[in-house]
Amino acid sequence: MAKKLPKVDVVIAGVGWAGGIIAAELTKKGLNVVGLERGEERNTEDYFMVHDELRYAIRGELFQDLSKETITFRSNEKMRALPMRQYGSFLLGSGLGGAGVHWNGQTFRFLPYDFEIRSQTIDRYGKDKIPADMTIQDWGITYDELEPYFDTFEKMAGISGEENPLGPKRSDKYPTGPMLQSPQMKLFKKAAEKLGYHPYTIPSANLSEAYENPDGISRAACEYCSFCERFGCEYGAKADPVVTVIPVAKKTGKFDLRTHSWVRRVLHKDGKATGVLYTDVTTGEEIEQPADMVVLTSYVFNNVKLLLNSDIGRPYDSATGKGSIGKNYAYQVEKGDATGYFKNKKFNNFAGAGALGMTLDDFNGDNFDHSDLNFIHGGYLAMGQTGARPIQNNPIPAGSPTWGKEFKENSLNYINQTLSVYGMGASMPYQHHYLDLDPIYKDTFGDPLIRMTYDFKEQDRELAKFTAKKSREILEEMGADHIDSMDELGPYNITTYQSTHNTGGVIMGADPDTSAVNNYLQMWDMENLFVVGASAFAHNSGYNPTGTVGALAYRAAEGMLKYSKDGGLLA
């Protein structure tokens, strides 16, 4: 029998960005919140030995321990799904702050087009533009409705940026100015302008200057130390839940944070959540935490896993397209890129910051005409300067040997003489791309793993070719002497890193028949259960996700406060 604890107002499963934001907002308003995090506690002091590429970037010190839990993967329903035994395509967060500790901090807002993608695509191009099995739908919210929450997130995190010339309407400018510009960035900017595009500095959660946020949290400026993505920031300059929202929640005295607490079930009775069941991973003890409201913020995969393992909502059925839990899993098309080799230019490629770089939106969303193109949406084009650490970065021209004398010469020569431009391609959902429970493989507690069924489609192949071509053109204008660019996207491969931009599975919408949560991320089928994160995205845009995750988390927190007073469905 599980030990049963006294009831609290709210219990949160997973304390990363989404969980941290919600904990801060609810405790500020006086609610008693328990935060359950399966991993360990984290502090800035943990990172004094962090400039270690092998330990953090290669062995993945901060990531989820796959020996305890992973996902299984198959390209299509005819294949047998097999476990992702080692890391590759994406890197899962674990421990206080989640992936928010070791993210880059490139912080964007999705486009107005994204939130109304189906209606706007039909309006402009007609119904036939959307392939029969492409399950895009409107999100049940508009950009204008979400704008204030973007603003709140950006001010909390102190996002450093400049106006995007093609960006949607903003109620205010970025709270801190853009990051410094390296010679590489200037080169990109000049070339892009010459081509008639609209480049701007990537909006960054690595602070360009010291900043105090509206919660009274002060943080130091970024040192461009180049150990950023996959690492924690020893300066506290990178916005991370541990140095922003979690201390705010703790300060209220209303936040009971329990690390090493692995949530396994949402408990429910008569259509309402009654709390959660979790295991203390240090003792193995099973504990029941009753609560008036339950919030799942355990990232895309575990949000779906917890719902399915708890028998909540209607599991998605890919044969009929009915049901919603697990529906519309999407990803990111990031392979459409190009690398330029410069014979007579040398750059400080070893220096950088996680969110340092230049980008442009001329080919994102519906900012350009798709009438004659075999895909919808697009992606930003960018040149990042995250710091080329030496184990991972050994650029050599395509077709040249990958080991031996010539490899050595090439890799030593080119390391500071190459620049890459890439597209952050959007990813559309399809009827047969989804998440469900694996019939065979289990996690360390014997619960079924999430099974992913996913592959790239014609839309993705066309989009990747397009962004690769555009990337090549920019590098040509930048004066590269030799350029290699992607020519074929190939199948989705779980072994090569692409991005940790997994989306969908518990999507939001205006209609309970086709979505799992409403626009406050409240479950249609269980009003005191909120499911927050990129799991709510009905498709993935041509941007990194976290700006939009953050905005939705603030919106959801507002909904929870409303619900705690008035109850009932909020939308």
Binding site: H51, Q181, E334, K335, R389, P390, T402
Partner: protein, 250 residues
């Protein structure tokens, strides 16, 4: 990877595009390893004394002893990694940089035991896109891979790997890299690819781990190691900076 390094991805893509990894994994799940190994040609006493005596600037380096390999295994890895990244008149090679010691030390720890990988049964042969699906741990793959290198050297040239001329060693490695060797134990290209990736790690990880001796790996590519800040140079043209290591953070 936007947020990660694009160059890294480029390179990995290229590797897989060129079919360095032909099978889904390095080892075939559920295969009886013993049988195939029964035919292993006994170790020959190797001549030469490669690799063992390199210390930092000629001083005794207590880190340079073995915790996983036998001495004979060590010599094969030392020789093979040197072919992957050979010394020339401009820069040191893998052997001088202590790469084989690095690999030895890594295999003795959590990496060698796949401690943070999902290693639960059942094991099935998968598709390439599904990644490694074998039940063998890295240290076992190395043990077997080294034996297979030896076997194949004997088969092809009638000598052990370390006794071969450099270009013969290259031929052997090329056959592994391109899966021209038919092994029933481990995937030849899979083993080669693993060897190549740990070679790069040994060249460029912090000297703390036993490779990159004296930070010479970093120096040869103007990599400044782990500086605390690049704020002062981020807006400037290319700079050469003396590297520092984690030792400097103590």
């Amino acid at each position: 990877m936007t947020e990660d390094n694009h160059l890294d991805k480029e390179e990995k893509e290229r590797l897989s595009r060129r079919k360095f990894i032909k099978n889904s994994g390095i080892a075939v799940g559920g295969l009886a390893v013993g049988g195939a190994l029964g035919s292993v040609i006994p170790w020959k006493k190797e001549t030469g004394n490669q690799g063992i005596e390199k210390g930092a600037k000629g001083e005794k380096n207590y880190n340079q002893a073995l915790m996983n390999f036998t001495q004979a295994e060590f010599k094969v890895i030392d020789a093979a990694t040197e072919r992957i990244f050979p010394k020339d008149d401009k820069a040191p090679g893998a052997s001088d940089l202590g790469v084989a010691f690095y690999i030895d030390h890594q295999l003795a720890g959590s990496y060698g035991f796949n401690a943070r990988d999902y290693m639960e049964a059942p094991f099935f042969h998968g598709e390439e896109v599904q990644g490694y699906q074998g039940r063998m741990k890295r240290r076992e793959i190395f043990k077997i891979g080294i034996r297979e290198l030896q076997n194949y050297s004997h088969e092809k040239f009638d000598k052990g790997f370390t006794e071969l001329e450099a270009d013969q060693q290259d031929e052997i490695l090329k056959d592994f890299a391109e899966d021209n060797v038919n092994l029933s134990t481990v995937s030849a290209s899979g083993f080669f690819n693993l060897l190549r990736s740990v070679t790069l790690e040994g060249l460029y990880s912090d000297p703390l781990y036993g490779g990159n001796v004296d930070m010479d790996g970093w120096k040869m590519r103007n990599y400044p190691g782990n500086q605390m800040s690049y704020k002062d140079i981020i807006e400037k043209d290319f700079q050469e900076i003396e590297p520092t290591s984690l030792q400097d953070h103590m």
